[in-house]
Amino acid sequence: MKKINLAVIASLLVLAVLPMMYSLNANAADKETVNSLATLRDHTPIDVQKEPNRIPKVINKDIKQGRNYPMQPPVIPHTTRSYEVNKYNNKCMSCHSRHRTEKSQAPMVSVTHFMNRDGNFLAEISPRRYFCNQCHVTQLDAEPLVENTFTDMHSLMNEKSKAKSEEH
C-alpha cells in the first residue's frame, strides 16, 4: 500500500513539474526571437550589465531645423550647458526675450508665451511657459533609434491634388 502511495505522489509531482519546466524553457527560447525591438539595451540579457553607449555631442550649429511632428516646439540648435532657468534667472531670455532680440538676433519667443490659460496677454512670459526646457530641447548628434515617417500636411495635400489632376 505504502509503495503505491509513493508511486502516485511521485507521478503527480512529475506531472506538475514537467509543464512548468517546459514553459520556462520555451520562454527563454522565445525571448531571443520575439523581443527584437531596438532598445537602448540592444538585446543584452537581463543579468548582464550593458556597457553604456557613448554620449553623443549636442548639435551646436545654430541652424534651424524642421519639425519632426505636427506642432513640435522648435528644437534648440545650440548647446545650453549650465544655462540657468530658475526663480531668479532665465538665461534663455537674455537673448530670446522681446527686448533682447535686437542685440542678439535670436528668434523672439512667440506671443503665445505671454498668454495665460484664459488667453489674456501678460507683460512678461507667462509662468506656465517660463521653463523653456519643458518643451524646447537640444538635439544630439546621433542616429535615430526609430525611423520617423512623419509627412506634413502640405505634402499630403500636394499629393492629393496631384492625384486628382491626373484623374481628369
Binding site: K61, D62, H78, R81, S82, Y88, N89, M93, S94, R100
Partner: protein, 195 residues
Amino acid sequence: MKKILMIGWKTLTKPSGYYSLGALVIGGFVAGIIFWGGFNTALEVTNTEAFCISCHEMENNVYEEMKTTIHFSNRSGVRATCPDCHVPHNWTSKIARKMQASKEVWGMIFGTINTREKFLVHRKRLAQNEWDRLKANDSLECRNCHNFDYMDFTEQSDRAAYQHSTALASGEKTCIDCHKGIAHQLPDMKGVEGW
C-alpha cells in the same frame, strides 16, 4: 609716557656699542630672508583652494556650485582654482586684494553668510563686487588663461566667433560683460545690463 617713548627712540638712534657692524649687517640680512620669506609663504598658503574652502561658507556654497561647471571638470582636465580667478596674480594688486579681504575675515568671524539663506540674501552684492573688479581690470583674471591673441575663431561656434571678433576685439565689451555666472550660480539678475 613721553619718557618711555624717548628712551625707545634714543636706543634706536644710538650707534651700536657692542655688536660688530658685520654681525648687524649679516644678522639683518638673514632676519630679512626669514621674515620676508615667511611672510610670502604664509601669503601663498592663503592663496590656495584648500585654504579658501576651509570655511564652510565657501565650501558649501560657491565650491559646490563650481563642481558642475566647465571650470572644474572638462575634457582636457585643466581646471581653475579659487585664487586663479579671484586673486590678482601680480604682487602689488595681490596685496591690495588681500587687504580688502580682511573684511571677509570680519564676515567669517561674525557669520554674515554662515547659512545658505544669508548667503543668497547677500549674493547679488557679492557678485556685483566681483563683476565690478573684473570690469575695471578688463577681465584680467580671465585673460591670464584665455588669451585673445591666440583664439582660433574657426574653432569657435559661429555665434561665439562673431561676438569675439567684433565686440571683444574692439574692446567695446570685456569677458565678464557676457560671461557672468560661468563658474557659480547667478544671483537675481533683475536690473543687470544684458539681462
